[in-house]
């Protein structure tokens, strides 16, 4: 169910009316859980099994964790566990009738849980949670990519081939990437890790915890909420004021405009140019890359705005996920403005555990590179995403170096810094958007080597994007108060509503970030 569809509109009206009616009772939480299940199951009912597994697992693991000591001596027991684990998978794979994949998975998860009980320490349970969650994610998201690359390598070595990921599915089951799996897996994992670190208390209610993981506004594309922000909001009856509803509606309107008017307009132009790279000139490819940068921003931040708006109408406050990222004056600044819930997740659970910034220069560079390569892979199982992540990691290292130079830090105008950062981000988007590494290289080559040809980008499209950019510039300038005057705000809202009514193309294009 997509936010910008009539189906969602009806679903939301029913959900919110019943939610408001149930608020005086204790069943509002059950209602949220049910609504979330309907919302998510609308895509494919079997997705519900996975999200339920992930939720139940982390809920029970944390309750077992609470009982165990923080650390336990592992010694030989760890080695024995690994042997049994591998054995269970191998035996499972030998199951007949195409059930090998499922048998191996069941064997794997059963042994992992048994090992958790056997080792029975908080750290062991933490690893059981991480292994479980990442195994599901890796299987559905990365198995195809990994097997394809391994088979290429094995073929070169003249060895046999591994079975495809599809062949590991039970008979009659389709191998598809469950929508939003990366988002809810990370959200659920953060709960376990934060409990292990002592940042949050165990959530005693399964319904509340399940509502936290599956809360429908943010289930499929974030923001990736932290338990310490969202769970407490589910602990008490939410107070919904008129201001919440108007704020929520404002966020939803802006998000809808970003998605329906801007992202869906930019998308076909980008698809046209990137779909036929060989005949495009440099100007068209450069403009399409610029357009893609804005498309993905409007698409993703539009979704986030709508998610936050929907939650706000129900009295819940989801975290800010985007803050005008194309006004960033450095790459570090960019990552504090772009997909904030993910960048802070990686900061807290990858970068800082690796040592963060409080290490020597070489280790710092290593930490940055690892964090961004993993972040790149989080976005998708392809070399292009890995390179995209690596480019950002290298860009951050270079940016840190630049910040130490006085001419850059003190004398370079902010506008110039913003344009440099934007240009670099667009350069990296080439790898993110391209179908393959080869195509990305070809695009870059053509941008810099082919002569001028008319890019055929509609002026209306360019005008819209530039208007939004100028709006954001003004928003972050001393003139911001002018934008906050009531007539200006009302005027902008009227323009957005009328534009969507009069000019928005039909069709519910899916959101780009659903694929992650």
């Amino acid at each position: 169910m997509l936010f910008h569809t009539w189906t969602f509109f009806i679903f939301f009206i029913v959900t919110i009316v019943v939610f408001w009616a149930l608020r005086p009772t204790r069943f509002w939480l059950h209602w949220i859980l049910l609504a979330s299940a309907v919302f998510y199951g609308w895509w494919h009912p079997y997705y519900l099994l996975l999200v339920f597994y992930s939720t139940a697992l982390d809920y029970f693991i944390v309750s077992w964790m609470e009982r165990g000591p923080r650390l336990a001596k592992l010694g030989w027991r760890f080695s024995a566990s690994v042997v049994v684990l591998v054995g269970a998978v191998v035996v499972g794979l030998m199951a007949p009738g195409g059930w090998g994949g499922l048998a191996a998975a069941v064997g794997f998860f059963a042994v992992v849980l048994a090992v958790g009980h056997w080792l029975c320490s908080r750290r062991a349970w933490l690893w059981v949670s991480i292994i479980n969650n990442l195994s599901v994610l890796v299987f559905f998201k990365y198995a195809g990519f990994a097997i394809e690359n391994l088979n290429t390598l094995l073929a070169r070595l003249g060895a046999g081939q591994l079975p495809s990921a599809e062949s590991l599915m039970p008979p009659g089951w389709e191998y598809v990437l469950p929508v939003g799996i990366s988002f809810y897996t990370f959200q659920s994992m953060s709960y376990t890790i934060d409990f292990y670190r002592g940042i949050i208390a165990r959530e005693p209610s399964f319904v509340r915890f399940a509502a936290f993981v599956t809360f429908f506004p943010q289930l499929v594309a974030g923001p990736i909420e932290r338990a310490k922000n969202l769970l407490p909001q589910f602990s008490k009856t939410p107070r919904v004021t008129l201001a919440d509803v108007s704020d929520g509606a404002s966020l939803f309107l802006v998000g809808l405009f970003k998605k329906v008017v801007l992202a869906n307009y930019l998308g076909p132009y980008v698809d046209r140019v990137y779909g036929d790279v060989a005949t495009q000139g440099g100007a068209a490819l450069a403009l399409a890359t610029f357009a893609f940068g804005w498309q993905i921003y409007f698409d993703f931040s539009g979704y986030t705005d709508m998610a936050r708006g929907v939650a706000r109408c129900m009295g819940f406050r989801l975290m800010l996920n985007f803050r005008n990222p194309y006004l960033a004056v450095s790459l570090a600044d960019f990552w504090s403005r772009w997909h904030i819930s993910l960048s802070t997740w990686f900061r807290d659970y990858v970068y800082i555990p690796l040592g963060g910034s409080r290490v020597g220069r070489i280790k710092l560079w290593r930490n940055l590179l690892i964090t961004f390569v993993v972040s790149g892979l989080w976005h998708g199982a392809a070399w292009t995403f890995l390179i995209w992540g690596m480019l950002h990691g290298l860009g951050l290292i270079a940016n840190r170096g630049l910040e130490q130079a006085a001419w850059w830090r003190d004398r370079c105008p902010r506008l110039a810094k913003r344009l440099v950062v934007f240009a670099f981000v667009c350069f990296a988007w080439v790898f993110f958007r391209a179908e393959s590494l080869g195509q990305a290289v070809e695009i870059l080559q053509r941008i810099f080597t082919t002569g001028w040809t008319d890019p055929r980008m509609p002026l209306l499209l360019l005008l819209l994007v530039v208007s939004v950019w100028v709006y954001q510039f003004v928003y972050e300038s001393p003139l911001r108060s002018w934008l906050e005057k009531p007539p200006v705000k009302v005027g902008l809202a009227v323009v957005m509503i009328l534009w969507m009514l009069l000019f928005a193309p039909g069709g519910g294009e899916p959101f780009i970030y659903f694929q992650f």
Binding site: A243, R323, I497, L501, P505
Partner: protein, 376 residues
């Protein structure tokens, strides 16, 4: 350990954040403008229909224009409502039934048909865009060809692409061959109820090649390699008040010839039963709707090209025709079943040629039921 609400920023995303009062202003202004704009547009966009006007073929799905056309028909003019038989699939705009009825009676008739319709869509057209037909004299054509086989009756489970999907019932009765998803159905159901949305469709049909304005700016010319003619161009509208000359219709058109010139054998038609027919159900609803709204209704049933039918088909057709006339009689709806036209005056199974329309008009005028109806 107790939970603490996180203090994360929520309002710094450059979103336009309105208060309740500002929302009320914005909604009032937006919807006020949305409802005023179509009205204001009529002053900006000239529409002066030529004699024997019919909605141009290119604008067949422009229901806002259709409503505007109906609104312009003076009260004493009789509207002839129906599908492409009324509209004149093979003829020029001045070679249709309404034109010849006018000639034969000396009274004004208006062509209120639309190309590509069928009873299920015709019902939607009248229900949502035909309010101007209330309390007027309406001649409604009933084309039984739509009941001549399960495919034409839209009963087949196999998905079918058909004209005017926005006019058919979106939810009930269920049309098995219509596979629009729930969003599309809701959007279509809403569009026909809200005038601003119908007007937007008018703009798309008339100025943007049946696309939204943004899609139009991106559209290619359909050739290979593609060109993008609209990138820097301003839209140019299709003339509303008269049709563009077409080589496909009229006396000089290659298509304007008897059916037997293309097809020699007789056709076998399965026919559906009146009890199970979706199109017949829609027609009944349509006739009741018109009668209920105070229209002075006359139904003209056919004529179909019986020359094209084999004996078995003809027999089934007669059974269906009997059921139709029986129902009309029971409902107290005046009707005429004209005698079949000569074979060489039919272009296909249901559409007459120009001379066929002329003969049909004369036969209708001679019919006592028609005379009584006209005299009222």
């Amino acid at each position: 350990m107790t939970h603490k609400t996180g203090q994360l920023p929520i309002n710094d995303s450059a979103a336009v954040q309105l208060s309740v009062r500002q929302w009320l202003c914005a909604l009032g202004l937006s919807f006020g403008l949305a409802w005023l704009l179509p009205e204001a547009w009529t002053a900006f966009e000239p529409f002066e229909p030529v004699q024997h006007y019919r909605v141009p073929y290119e604008l067949s799905e422009d229901y806002w224009l259709y409503e505007r056309w109906l609104d312009q028909i003076p009260p004493d003019v009789i509207s002839v409502v129906g599908d492409s038989v009324v509209w004149g699939e093979y003829t020029a705009h001045d070679g249709t039934l309404s034109r010849f009825l006018g000639d034969a009676t000396g009274m004004p008739f208006a062509n209120a048909g639309i190309n590509g319709l069928y009873p299920l869509a015709l019902w939607g057209l009248v229900e949502h865009h035909g309010s101007a037909l209330a309390k007027r004299r309406v001649l409604l054509h009933c084309n039984l060809l739509w009941m001549s086989d399960p495919e034409a009756d839209m009963q087949l489970a196999k998905e079918q692409v058909f004209n005017h999907p926005a006019l058919v019932p979106q939810f009930a009765p269920r049309i098995p061959c219509y596979r629009g998803d729930i969003d599309m159905r809701l959007a279509r159901a809403l569009e026909r109820r809200l005038e601003p949305l119908s007007w937007v469709r008018h703009l798309q049909q008339t100025y943007f090649s049946q696309k939204s304005a943004p899609e139009w700016t991106l559209a290619d010319d359909g050739k290979f390699p593609p060109a993008y003619p609209n990138t820097y161009r301003l839209p140019v509208g299709i003339p509303l008040s008269s049709e563009l000359p077409s080589v496909k219709r009229g006396l000089s058109s290659e298509r304007h010839k008897p059916w037997s010139a293309n097809q020699s054998g007789k056709a076998n038609m399965e026919w559906v039963t009146p009890e199970n027919s979706l199109q017949w159900l829609a027609f009944r609803r349509l006739a009741n709707r018109l009668q209920g709204s105070g229209s002075n209704l006359l139904v003209v049933v056919g004529p179909l090209n019986e020359h094209i039918m084999n004996d078995a088909t003809l027999e089934k057709y007669q059974v269906f025709l009997t059921a139709v006339t029986a129902w009309l009689s029971v409902e107290g709806i005046r009707f005429v079943v004209p005698e079949v036209l000569p074979s060489d005056e039919f272009a296909d199974a249901s559409h007459p040629l120009t001379e066929g329309y002329e003969r049909l008009a004369k036969r209708l005028v001679a019919d006592p039921v028609f005379k009584t109806w006209l005299a009222q």
